[in-house]
Symmetry: C2
Subunit: 121 residues, 2 copies
């Protein structure tokens, strides 16, 4: 569960850019909870929007959310079109990825790699 | 990805208590990355242990990790046996859950509910 300041901005990022879809929404009056998943449906990412306008401290302890994509170059094209900051993986790495920030400043890693279920462990 | 201060304490919590299993470990010299998953294998929880003893600020923005179990009462028995703090869901809620803290203070929600993949959306 991630707390977000602007639900519409967050949903634009997580659905229109990252491709997740909304599967459930709870309007609690003083807060709205939105549950997202990907094509697999195997997990939920919960966004919590508190309506009282409170601010948050991101801290340094939580790291990032990582997602896998088939075509990282296509993602980079879109990130550049949107004019967002991003950081590329070291070319020496066998795994290619970029880091971007979501609208609330969370680090989001986008990897060109098979999803965890397909890895040999 | 979650940053942890004491890898062994964190692994005891995430594997022995929560039942996740280690699927990959990268020793980078100045840091150790451990990837965990559950029986489904559909996601990874990455624990990062930096070896320089740095401290972290938890902040207020990241919420929690949630996991589903079949038998919450059995989990409560174990939590009580370990003498840990926990908070129960409101009895009026249709979903039963508890919140505990991992060794680094992260909020962990344990729900008695079907996993996301089984929900009707």
């Amino acid at each position: 569960m991630l707390r977000v300041r602007d639900l519409n901005r967050a949903l634009d990022f997580y659905t229109n850019f990252l491709g997740l879809r909304e599967v459930r929404r709870h309007d609690l009056g003083d807060a709205t909870l939105v549950f997202l998943t990907d094509a697999s449906g195997h997990y939920h990412l919960e966004l919590t929007h508190n309506h009282d306008g409170r601010d948050y401290a991101l801290g340094t302890q939580f790291g990032h959310i990582a997602l896998h994509v088939d075509d990282l170059d296509a993602v980079v094209v879109e990130v550049e079109a949107r004019g967002w900051w991003f950081r590329r993986s070291n070319p020496k790495n066998t795994t290619r990825y970029i880091f971007v920030h979501d609208p609330d400043g969370y680090d989001i890693e986008i990897l060109e790699a098979k999803a965890p279920a397909s890895t040999t462990t």
